[in-house]
Amino acid sequence: MNPRRKQRLAVVATIGLLVASAIGLMLYALNDSIDLFYTPSEIIEGKNGQKPQVGQRLRIGGMVVPGSVSRDPESLAVSFDLVDTGPTVTVTFTGILPDLFREGQGIVATGVLTEKRQINAQEVLAKHDEEYMPPELAEKMKGIKHVKPTESLGYNSATNEASSSAGKNGGLY
């Protein structure tokens, strides 16, 4: 390589390195704000020494604790617990849950921290994992029985009427 090209390459490489390190430092400084949500243990134990305050608007992301989903038979109100590795946080929500919402599913909820471990959510989003497989394989590997979204809504506390209409809906698919 002739010296002029070598020099140009060096200049380009230096500029590249400088920009990369500048952006790297910036992202490192902004690290906490880039995270989309708090995990339940971060809400209770704090994140980098800062605990979210009651009344603060925030996002929480965690797994729906199996068996914790309870629905109001009269309205669209629902409450469930979220967990990551430690303590659980209860989320209350009124509205239509996304199709992928089910027990054991990761979800992200936006809302206001009303008590120390309770969030009143305005929006609930389902987070799915990066695994894709046919239902038969999922059944074999994970013991997950494939359920159509409409059937999976778990009308535990619902009346007979509600569960029979859920059956009808399921039949449509």
């Binding site: 140009r8 590249g16 952006i23 799915h128 394989l137 999922a138």
Partner: protein, 250 residues
């Protein structure tokens, strides 16, 4: 290798190379896209969680991967242009920019259409989605900067600097789902040893990925030929080419 590559710094040789490559790119792209898309949309099994909705992966993932791939290719062209001062390198860079921008847009659009039924939201400001949006702005910036200069030699240099600087965004897009917690799920197929997708779903995806890449190659050759002819109008070989075409049509 340099002996082999150097002739393509000349616009005429690069033009000839485009003509040679173009039919192969088109043929490969057509075959792969038809096979991959039909297989993926009609024959691949349903997903255990998402049912048929997951099939948008066959458009979303190839376009997202190649929006980044095209950007890297563009930056490599810019680097070659800057260090070796090849004019054809800058031309290749600007030929690829709009194609990459379209790929980015397709990835964002199909992602939104997928996000609405699965997540429950068209758009979330999480790290993956935001950095991909920045990639779209980078592409638009490169195109706009190139267009803003009267002197295309200058334009190539300016846009090249921008393309090179923007490369920082590529690892950010890729690792965003690992570095921060996001709504977007983690990587599926870039874990080559153990992709988390069943093989009968993976194959059509890989075929479509190849198809998208070949399609981008095909469109790049067309755009590069155009760019070369436009920039070299005064050259005798271009004028001879135009003369030939005129005679053929007459």
């Amino acid at each position: 290798m340099w002996k082999w590559l150097h002739p393509y710094a000349k616009t005429e040789r690069a033009y000839q190379l485009c003509i040679t490559l173009q039919p192969w790119f088109w043929a490969g792209a057509c075959i792969c896209l038809v096979v991959g898309t039909v297989w993926g949309l009609a024959f691949a099994p349903q997903d255990y969680q998402q049912g048929d909705s997951f099939r948008i992966i066959y458009i979303h993932v190839p376009s997202a991967i190649l929006s980044m791939g095209t950007y890297v290719a563009m930056a490599v062209a810019a680097l070659v242009g800057m260090v070796w001062q090849w004019r054809t390198a800058y031309m290749t860079m600007i030929a690829m920019a709009p194609i990459g921008a379209v790929m980015t847009f397709v990835a964002l659009f199909t992602g939104a259409a997928w996000g609405k039924p699965m997540w429950g939201a068209w758009w979330v400001w999480d790290a993956r989605l935001t950095s991909e949006l920045i990639l779209l702005f980078l592409y638009v910036g490169v195109i706009a900067l190139y267009g803003a200069f009267e002197d295309k030699q200058q334009a190539g240099k300016a846009a090249g600097v921008m393309a090179l600087v923007g490369v920082v965004n590529i690892p950010i897009i890729h690792y965003s789902v690992e570095w921060w917690n996001t709504l977007h799920q983690g990587a599926t197929i870039s874990k080559f040893d153990n992709p988390s997708i069943a093989p009968e779903m993976l194959w059509p995806l890989l075929i479509n990925l190849l198809g998208f890449a070949l399609f981008i190659g095909a469109v790049t050759t067309i755009r590069l030929r155009n760019e070369i002819v436009l920039r070299e109008l005064h050259r005798p070989w271009v004028q001879a080419l135009a003369q030939q075409r005129l005679e053929k049509e007459a």
